[in-house]
């Protein structure tokens, strides 16, 4: 399933049947996110606190303190920023098991414009102690991530980007969540994708492969941004010597920077380019137009691949 939002709702409903401790909370976005469907089936375990995100997170903390498993469901931009302190001081500092689902995330949220596009959510959530951060690539990955977060019994943030795109993982039968995996084996460059950018990375890799001067691109996908599984990335980076990281978020404090820092610690000598949004706010537009204008489309990734290979060759 390519629709991350719908996958999250379906997973919550199914899990809610098996686990009576799961409770769902929202801040007036039950209908828009679809989580009100959980409330239709399990009304006693569904709480809408109205447009009050700080209250939303702290109420969830109260439930978690008493052993309930809250899923905090609202837009990424509102929950991670309006309620950042509550996430930090009530959920993380008390080391509570709760899951924050950040809907409508990324610049691909599109038409609503900058105030509703979260470019910072992954950057902010990954610095909080005790926080697992997921950026799933499609609906199946969302479902696996949610189940993984419950099994880890820890505090989690799961980013749910808006677009309904082509699913990448065929189905989840018998699969367990993979924090990082090799999507495509290659030899010339390591392309690291996060979240829904995997599709753009695959397009870029195919273009590179089919071009006159064919480039063999290895794609490593990260679905779990924190803790980061650097080993797989380091192994590939050592092999290729050229790395391009891709994220749907701000460059400052982003995953690209985190990977750079960690590769340094592993003494990996590679040329690295970070494809990310260059510390500006977004604007209204379609996801495709925004990816193009803000430099994170498959063409930009392809350009970055060629640039980093040239740098590696020139050294």
């Amino acid at each position: 399933m390519g629709n991350l939002r719908a996958a999250a709702v379906e997973t919550l409903i199914n899990l809610g049947k098996e686990d009576p401790c799961i409770v769902v909370l929202t801040a007036d976005l039950g209908l828009v996110t679809g989580v009100s469907a959980f409330g239709d089936i399990y009304p006693k375990r569904y709480f809408d606190v109205g447009i009050a995100e700080q209250n939303l997170v702290s109420v969830a903390a109260g439930l978690a303190l008493e052993g309930w498993k809250p899923f905090i469901c609202t837009f990424a931009v509102f929950v991670t920023m309006r309620a950042f302190e509550q996430i930090r001081s009530h959920l993380a500092y008390q080391n509570l098991a709760a899951c924050i689902l950040g809907f409508h995330a990324g610049i691909s949220a599109g038409a609503n414009g900058a105030t509703h596009q979260s470019l910072e959510d992954l950057n902010l959530m990954r610095i909080i102690p005790n926080m697992r951060v997921y950026a799933p690539c499609d609906g199946v990955d969302v479902s696996l991530a949610i189940k993984h977060s419950i099994s880890e019994n820890s505090l989690s943030y799961i980013r749910l980007s808006k677009p309904k795109w082509k699913p990448i993982i065929a189905n989840d039968k018998g699969k367990s969540f993979q924090p990082t995996w090799v999507e495509r084996v290659g030899t010339d460059v390591t392309l690291i994708s996060t979240g829904i950018m995997l599709l753009e990375c695959i397009k870029a890799a195919e273009k590179c492969n089919n071009s006159k001067q064919s480039i063999s691109v290895e794609i490593i996908h990260i679905s779990q941004v924190n803790p980061l599984d650097i080993f797989l990335i380091a192994k590939s980076a050592k092999k290729t010597g050229a790395v391009v990281t891709v994220e749907e978020g701000l460059k400052n404090g982003g995953i690209g920077e985190a990977i750079c820092a960690q590769l340094q610690q592993f003494n990996v000598k590679a040329k690295i380019e970070n494809v990310a949004i260059n510390n500006v706010f977004g604007e209204s537009g379609s996801a495709c137009d925004l990816f193009d204008k803000y430099g994170i489309s498959s063409s930009h990734i392809e350009t970055a691949i060629r640039r980093v290979i040239n740098l590696r060759t020139a050294k």
Binding site: Q54, N55, V59, A61, G62, L63, Q86, H90
Partner: protein, 282 residues
């Protein structure tokens, strides 16, 4: 519960109030850090809660959140006296020290602390969550929160007040420690909330008022039946028991001299011998 406190109990509670204030002075002097005024105004309220309403031995006991977390010294002393903490606990080693148990603001690692607090305005929301959890559990346990009057400046307080009303959380009792002053000065000057009673009432809460240093009035308010969330606006005195400092602004541990701490102990002893701080309307 017998709402009238007999003289033996009153004597015991008065003595405890004196001891708790002394403990606060000791703690804050050892650490050279802490809030005297905020702690002192909360003493009788805390003693009342732990004497009659929070039973350590009950697995389904009431929950308590010190939302005005900087009054932690008073809470830690009360927890010791009601045996949540060891009787031989060393304030010098444990309060506000590296590797110490007793953090500057309450933290859930400390026995007896139900909610980590300190950042103002946030904990009443946690209490809403605790109350929802109790309802889901089929429990009738009460949830108590002690809030500062300056803390009512925070918007999140009113988010939680609305939510408590929406979910008809009649097991919640919030107590406002109304001592009239906050960080930058008197509440009436910094950010006036001219009528706290009306504000809570407008949001659908039951509202009572009492003298926050009078054990009988506190008991009366806390035992009043209510079918809505209840707030008790307790009028208190900042730096209660320190005569010429009463109703002045906060006394921060960092700014106090050894002489002043010694002076505080003498004032408290004098007051206790004169039958202060407690007068009772029983």
């Amino acid at each position: 519960m017998n709402k009238n406190l007999n003289s033996v109990t009153l004597k015991k509670l008065n003595y405890l109030a004196y001891k708790v204030r002394l403990d606060c002075v000791d703690m804050i002097e050892c650490a050279h850090s802490g809030h005297i005024g905020a702690s002192f105004s909360a003493v009788e309220i805390l003693i009342m809660l732990y004497e009659f309403f929070i039973d350590r031995m009950n697995p389904d006991r009431a929950r308590f959140c010190l939302s005005k977390g900087h009054a932690a010294p008073a809470l830690y002393s009360v927890l010791k006296h009601y045996q949540f903490l060891p009787q031989n606990i060393s304030w010098k080693k444990e309060f506000r020290c590296i590797n110490g148990l007793l953090q500057g603001h309450p933290s859930i690692e400390i026995p007896g602390i139900d909610v980590s607090s300190g950042s103002l305005g946030m904990c009443l929301s946690v209490c809403v969550g605790l109350a929802l959890a109790a309802r889901l559990n089929g429990s009738v346990r009460n949830i108590y929160a002690l809030i500062g009057d300056g803390e009512l400046n925070e918007g999140q307080i009113w988010e939680s007040v609305m939510a408590a009303s929406k979910f008809t959380l009649d097991r919640i009792t919030a107590i406002v420690d109304r001592n009239g002053s906050q960080g930058s000065g008197y509440c009436t000057e910094v950010m006036p909330l001219t009528n706290i009673y009306q504000a809570f009432n407008a949001f659908g809460w039951e509202v009572l008022e009492c003298n926050g240093h009078d054990f009988c009035e506190l008991l009366d308010a806390l035992t009043k039946p209510h079918s809505k969330p209840l707030v008790i606006i307790a009028s208190t005195i900042k730096n209660k028991g320190l005569s010429n400092y009463e109703n002045k602004l906060e006394l921060y541990g960092e700014k106090l001299s050894k002489q002043q701490f010694s002076d505080f102990r003498k004032k408290l002893l004098r007051g206790f011998k004169n039958g202060e701080p407690q007068s009772c309307s029983c």
